[in-house]
């Protein structure tokens, strides 16, 4: 017997009797012999919890825990102790997508809160329930822009977009039949001088920019929305969620769609996942938005209640005419970031971001002070992430840092490295990192 299988031989006997068959195998009589599995799976034998723990410990020892100065889309922010202890409550953890609203108000309630918080954080009107991650959210935004605008199949991508995100957008675009255009960067920041010309080609559904961009640079989008709108194209801004506690919002820049990665809202690094993508937009584009959306309504007694809504957009109703194929998303991670924002509030969110910003500028200055580093993009404003050039063997230096327990940034070329600093990093750690430079 195994703890996951309650059926005893007596139980099975009884069930077979009721069904009126001799053996469980009779239930598979319709499976042709030629497709049947006639061997044992070539898999490990059944392991007890003691053995699984032992194996996890073994694998775990092969990982090295590093003090993290890397970002590039994933940040080592702090997770309040409250979050995992609530998120792991099995009423949240083991429930399905909230189709049965009457016994899913727990989930629906927090998604509605999440939508509200994300709309407020991005300065947009509305939010969906979440997307897989920042990269697919950006790809879906490109598709949404095309679906929302008439006779278009082109989308402009700034070269300031993280290449990892761009790669995913390219994948979606290719198979969906989208043409991607680009805008170059100058001194690391998007150069909009060719924007009007590019838009003038016609058939452009939207422009996608990233803020802060792939080099950590905070870009200036003054006038960009108007120029897009004049050409009937949408402006899509991809941002690191937590950074919006300080940055001018997509809403303030006049964006039509705000997307990005939500991992920075307290989600552990987790070797890349699960994270959460967000997507917010204006009322105008509400019905073109992909993904789940929760809306407020009432129950039969007139009591406020929440429910999945605008389902006419979705796959289980519209099938191939749906706005997207997304159904299960990163549900529980929405709870994660909702609790994070509830705890941090406007003040905490800003304080944490400012601390990372201040730490990054300190690190930057210390690196420059060594005489071995110089700015990769002089004069550009940055928040908590920046690029510098090294005058020595960068790979060797990074290797040395690893040996000493540090992840010293992400190399973006042979001589250029991007550092990120969060509120988790101390002055002492920064000084140690810098002291290892020779």
């Amino acid at each position: 017997m195994h703890p996951f299988f309650p059926q005893t031989s007596d139980d099975i006997k009884h069930m077979l009797d009721v069904i009126g068959i001799e053996s469980v195998d009779d239930l598979y009589k319709d499976v042709p012999d030629n497709v049947r599995l006639k061997k044992d799976y070539d898999l490990p034998s059944s392991q007890s919890e003691i053995e699984i723990r032992r194996k996890l410990a073994e694998f775990g020892k092969l990982n090295k825990q590093l003090v993290c100065f890397a970002g590039a889309g994933a940040y080592d922010h702090y997770t309040p102790a409250v979050i995992p202890q609530i998120v792991e409550r099995s009423e949240f953890l083991t429930s399905y997508t909230p189709y049965q609203a009457e016994i899913s108000q727990g989930t629906l309630h927090y998604i509605f809160e999440y939508q509200t918080m994300m709309a407020r954080l991005t300065g947009m009107d509305i939010s969906n329930a979440n997307m897989y991650d920042g990269s697919t959210a950006t790809a879906e935004a490109a598709l949404m822009a095309v679906a929302s605008t008439k006779k278009t199949n082109k989308v402009i991508l700034s070269d300031g977009i993280d290449p990892k995100v761009k790669e995913v957008v390219k994948t979606y675009a290719h198979f969906h039949g989208l043409e991607l255009l680009s805008l170059p960067t100058v001194n690391g920041a998007t150069d909009f001088s060719a924007l009007d010309e590019t838009l003038a080609q016609g058939g452009v559904a939207g422009l996608i920019v990233q803020q802060p961009n792939r080099y950590g640079i905070v870009e200036d989008y003054t006038g960009v929305a108007d120029r897009c709108h004049a050409a009937k194209a949408l402006l899509i801004i991809n941002s690191v969620a937590a950074d919006l506690s300080m940055l001018k919002t997509p809403g303030e820049w006049g964006a039509d769609i705000a997307v990005g990665e939500g991992q920075s809202l307290g989600i552990p690094l987790s070797w890349g996942g699960p994270y959460i993508g967000y997507m917010c937009t204006t009322e105008k584009h509400m019905r073109k938005m992909p993904g789940r959306i929760v809306g407020q309504t009432v129950d039969q007694d007139g009591k406020r209640a929440f429910v999945l809504t605008l389902q006419a957009r979705e796959q289980h109703i519209r099938r191939q005419r749906a706005t997207s194929n997304i159904c299960s998303n990163q549900g529980l991670m929405a709870l994660w970031v909702t609790i994070y924002m509830s705890l941090m509030g406007p003040q905490g969110l800003k304080e944490a971001t400012q601390m990372g910003c201040d730490g990054a500028h300190y690190l930057h200055d210390q690196l420059i002070a060594t005489g071995h580093f110089c700015d990769a993009f002089p004069g550009q404003e940055f928040l908590n992430e920046f690029c510098v050039k090294y005058d020595g063997d960068l790979a060797a230096l990074q290797e040395k840092w690893v040996e000493n327990g540090f992840m010293g940034g992400v190399a973006i070329s042979d001589d250029t490295v991007m550092f990120a600093v969060t509120e988790q990093r101390t002055k002492e750690e920064i000084d140690q990192l810098v002291a290892l430079i020779s």
Partner: protein
């Protein structure tokens, strides 16, 4: 106090956070790129937040609370050792761009999982990148299109999908830029091979199937179908949503499928989390591996993958093979116990799930929706309802292998009781639920007058 929104518990000046002192000189961000007004997020003390979400969890129902017979969703037990694995401190703090030498354990675990999934599906290669089933479907179709394109064959833009298919199948095809052509089902619920034949030509990129299909019926013509599609140059796509009943019985690869996605949050016991994070690995024949597209920058939902890894190890080869037969036994038992009072539109063998077309006695006016809502009163989740679309009053029931005989007997007894109530007190059923946290919601109002955020100044 406990049915409010968190915004209604906010009070200016309260804090729920505690940060170290800022040790650094202040950097003032340039005004023209700074937000002008702080976001109106809640301001709450820590206990208020804890109570709020703790009490709201009580308005939810999970597998840990009771039987969850959602057809095609495979709501099996989510083992606690999986959670322990996913919370292991040696894995949760790894940056996705850490040098390979520093994440060798995580990589070894992911590789082990891939290998195990290959063996279970009979595929030659697996990618773990997709974050959900639909994401996996899309990835799988991209592989197929990539393959055709690599041969310079750009005319294959058609995807064949049985009319009983999950809604994500056509939707994924559309996102992938493919045209969906529906294939009819026969009266026995299986694919109409004759209809299929009329739709096969050199524009077919692939056929998507789940087997057993959404009626729980094994497509006994599968070998023939595969042959037909392959013959016309199309590839066969397997929707892994219904893989559970095949564990221990047959492998999609052995049936001739070329590409498959899996739902780790169904077949492999990772929790659904109220709608994710799931994980939708995609497997394919070795020769298609080079067409894996980039649909995620990293390894996918790694912590979900850790859970599935723990699950497969827990079962091992000895018990994985019991999953399918036991799930099918449980479902078949329920069907046998209830087919006198609920209408069984398609007789004969079925697997892990089956479909009733509502109550046999239609005279009471009690619908499948009513039965579903009444079930909630008795501490059971509802089945999947109004799907598949083949019947007006579909109730798709999938108990999974995790449920004990007593649990199933309880569910059967309640469904019989509801059938009785439908006759003796139909209003009671039509106005259900009565014991749930709220009464029946007004879906129409929500869609007609969308309120999607809480107003800043209510």
């Amino acid at each position: 106090l406990y049915d409010r929104l968190i915004f209604e518990l906010s009070s200016p000046g309260r804090v729920g956070y505690h940060l170290p002192k800022n040790q650094f000189p202040h950097h003032e961000l340039r005004k023209d790129v700074s937000r002008t007004k702080a976001p109106a997020l809640p301001e709450c003390d820590e206990m208020t937040v804890v109570r709020h979400y703790t009490n709201h969890s009580g308005n939810n129902f999970g597998v840990d609370n009771g039987l969850y017979p959602l057809g095609s969703c495979t709501m099996k037990y989510n083992p606690k050792i999986n959670e322990e694995a996913a919370n292991h401190p040696a894995f949760v703090n790894l940056h996705p761009l850490q040098p390979a030498s520093t994440v060798a354990g995580a990589q070894a675990l992911a590789d082990e999982l891939k290998k195990m999934l290959c063996e279970i599906t009979g595929m030659g290669a697996v990618t773990l990148k997709p974050c959900a089933g639909a994401h996996g479907e899309l990835t799988g179709l991209m592989i197929i299109r990539g393959y055709h394109e690599s041969r310079g064959d750009f005319k294959r833009t058609k995807v064949l999908v049985p009319d009983s298919a999950h809604g994500t199948n056509p939707a994924s095809a559309a996102v992938c830029g493919l045209d969906v052509v529906e294939v009819k089902s026969k009266e026995d619920g299986t694919v109409d091979v004759d209809d299929l034949a009329t739709k096969l030509d050199d524009t077919v990129a692939a056929m998507m199937m789940t087997n057993p299909n959404t009626l729980g019926i094994f497509e006994h013509n599968i070998t023939k179908i595969v042959e037909m599609v392959h013959k016309c140059g199309g590839l066969m796509y397997y929707d892994g949503a219904n893989l559970n009943p095949l564990l221990g019985v047959c492998r999609p690869g052995d049936m001739g499928f070329d590409v498959i996605h899996l739902n780790l949050h169904k077949t492999f016991s990772t929790p659904h989390g109220g709608g994710g994070p799931g994980s939708g690995p995609v497997g394919c024949r070795k020769e298609l591996e080079s067409f894996f597209p980039t649909v995620n920058p990293y390894q996918g939902n790694f912590l979900v993958e850790m859970r599935a890894w723990a699950y497969i190890l827990s079962l091992g080869y000895e018990y994985i093979k019991k999953v399918g037969p036991t799930a099918t036994l449980n479902a078949s038992y329920i069907k046998a116990k209830l087919q006198d009072v609920y209408e069984l539109p398609i007789k004969g063998l079925s697997k892990h799930e089956f479909v009733f077309n509502g109550l046999t006695d239609k005279s009471t006016g009690v619908t499948t929706m009513d039965v579903a809502k009444r079930l909630l009163d008795y501490g059971y989740h509802a089945p999947t309802i109004y799907f598949p679309l083949l019947f007006h009053e579909s109730m798709m029931i999938e108990p999974t292998e995790s449920e004990s005989l007593e649990s199933i007997d309880g569910f059967v007894a309640v469904l019989r009781k509801i059938a009785e109530e439908a006759k003796t007190d139909p209003e009671l059923v039509k106005t259900a639920p009565h014991n749930a946290p709220i009464s029946r919601v007004d879906d129409v109002l929500a869609a007609k007058n969308p309120v999607l955020t809480y107003p800043e100044n209510p």
